[in-house]
């Protein structure tokens, strides 16, 4: 019985390592086709990249705005619940502003994008793999990473920071709605309080995290797509995994960065 347990651990480890080696090869090739390929005159699929930017970014604006608005409202109300006791309601502005720009704006946007775009990448590439389209590309001497992955990665990395800024704005607007609407705060006071509380590094750390989140979601989605095996069921399995793994890794990265930025701010 112990033998079987050891065998299982061994099998899982080996397959996990194979998975990671595929993923790192994917990242390697993507970097090649993003930077080295175009310089060597091997071409770049601009039209496809722009198309991806529209799909990933532009079409996500409504949902990101609404979600961020809702999150801003939630934060403001939860904060007010406690701060009211100390007669410190004006600090709702600080709390909403800082938590949205540093944390919730980037995180919520990344989670929405993992669900929208991460799964779309996996489903698209996975379906193409099942329909022999990826094989057809290879058989024609065309590199699937250049064709399929690079435009998507560029699209998501360019668009996510923009979406985060929109999320930041809408989140603070949500807080403002609550503050002026139900907490009876004055607009000018709320606005000034927010502006005074926020420092550039709050927004910047959010954007830097966003860049990393974009890379994580993009690569996880594409990697799962290429790993699809076995028809429609395989596509479904990998699409689900891309969302779950994407969100999991995003939150891990968030944890890492939060600790890092905190230590920096303490002057380590």
């Amino acid at each position: 019985m112990l033998n079987r347990l050891a065998g299982n651990i061994g099998k899982k480890t080996l397959s996990g390592m194979a998975d990671m080696s595929h993923a790192s090869r994917l990242i390697n090739e993507t970097i090649y086709w993003l930077f080295v390929g175009p310089l060597k005159k091997k071409g770049f699929r601009w039209a496809s990249a722009v198309n991806q930017m529209v799909l990933i970014g532009y079409e996500a604006v409504p949902i990101i705005s609404l979600i961020s608005l809702a999150v801003g409202i939630i934060m403001a109300l939860q904060a007010a619940y406690q701060l009211r006791r100390f007669g410190a309601l004006i600090y709702v502005a600080d709390l909403v502003g800082i938590s949205i720009t540093r944390e919730l704006g980037p995180l919520m946007s990344a989670i929405v994008l993992a669900g929208r775009s991460g799964s779309a990448f996996a489903a698209e590439i996975g379906s193409m793999k099942v329909a022999e389209e990826v094989d057809a590309l290879k058989a024609m001497g065309l590199n699937p990473v250049k064709f399929l992955v690079v435009p998507k990665i560029l699209g998501i990395v360019v668009m996510l920071p923009g979406l985060i800024l929109i999320a930041d704005f809408m989140g603070i607007a949500g807080g403002f709605l609550v503050a002026v609407g139900s907490l009876d705060l004055n607009f000018e006071r709320y606005f000034n309080q927010t502006v005074n509380a926020l420092v550039l590094s709050d927004v910047l750390t959010g954007l830097i995290k966003g860049l990393v989140f974009a890379l994580v979601i993009g690569f996880v989605g594409c990697h799962e797509g290429f790993s699809v095996d076995g028809g429609a069921e395989g596509v479904g399995l990998r699409t689900t995994r891309s969302v779950v793994t994407g969100i999991f890794l995003v939150i891990l990265a968030d944890c890492f960065f939060t600790v890092l930025f905190y230590l920096f701010s303490q002057g380590v």
Binding site: E133, D135, A139, M140, G141
Partner: protein, 264 residues
């Protein structure tokens, strides 16, 4: 045979633990149609995928014009792939692109030709397969037979020396199958292409093949001309040609063990 374009030497390949190709050796002569036949599961599609460079074998060599493609890097393989065309079973069209964009894709990526020239060449290839006028259709808007023909147009868009077919007439009605066979013969005659077709459809084999290689469970059981295989005495070959179902005869004890799940 003088100067074969492809030589396969002792190819051994596995899917996981299952041995799919067991020491396969054969030669593809230039300018002729070679059919790789066999019943389902004999390894013919796997063999084709090795020949196109999509799979690497456990051991063995594949010499294309004298160069061993098994040892080649992806970069070198890509250089070779511009001189070959492949028609996959489902057509292999990119579903997000129109027929014109599909057929023009190799030209746009591998050549520095003017767009107007590419358009003309694309229309020529579409006309050759009988799809002129369907330029701006998406693959989802055309029938299965038309998809195969569009895939063929794309496969020949770079005027390749060697053309590979994976089950060219699978899923086609008899009339359309005959049209596809005729198209394949036309390609060989007009363009002097070397053609390798994997198929198990007898009428097709009889109308297009110059040479036939038959596989069974990963091994070559026959290699010769069409005339030779039609008179071949080998029982496995005869069973394939005469459309005889195979009967597995169990003795009563083996049968009993098999159905009750008792391991003998």
């Amino acid at each position: 045979m003088s100067d074969p374009i492809v030589q396969i030497i002792d190819l051994v390949s596995h899917y996981g633990d299952l041995k799919v190709l067991d020491g396969v050796s054969l030669e593809i002569p230039r300018g002729q149609i070679t059919v790789i036949a066999g019943s389902s599961g004999c390894g013919k599609t796997t063999l084709l995928r090795h020949m196109i460079g999509l799979l690497k074998p456990k051991s063995g060599r594949i010499l294309l014009r004298g160069e061993d493609i098994v040892a080649m890097s992806e970069k070198d393989l890509d250089r070779i792939r511009t001189r070959q065309g492949v028609l996959f079973q489902s057509g292999g069209l990119l579903n997000s692109m129109t027929l014109t964009d599909n057929v023009a894709l190799p030209l746009r990526e591998h050549t520095a030709l003017e767009e107007s020239t590419i358009q003309i060449m694309t229309r020529m290839k579409l006309e050759l397969v009988g799809l002129l006028g369907f330029d701006s259709f998406l693959p989802s808007q055309i029938s299965g037979g038309m998809k195969k023909r569009a895939g063929l147009a794309r496969a020949i868009s770079m005027d390749p020396e060697i053309l590979y077919f994976d089950e060219p007439t699978a899923g086609l009605d008899p009339g359309t199958s005959a049209e596809m066979d005729e198209l394949i013969l036309k390609l060989k005659k007009t363009f002097r292409m070397t053609i390798v077709a994997v198929t198990h459809e007898l009428p097709s084999i009889k109308s297009i093949a110059d040479r036939v290689v038959m596989l069974d469970r990963g091994q070559v059981i026959f290699s010769g001309t069409l005339q030779e295989i039609l008179v071949c005495e080998n029982p496995q070959v005869r069973r394939f040609l005469d459309r005889e179902p195979s009967h597995v005869v169990y003795d009563s004890e083996t049968y009993l063990n098999a159905i009750t799940g008792i391991e003998a």
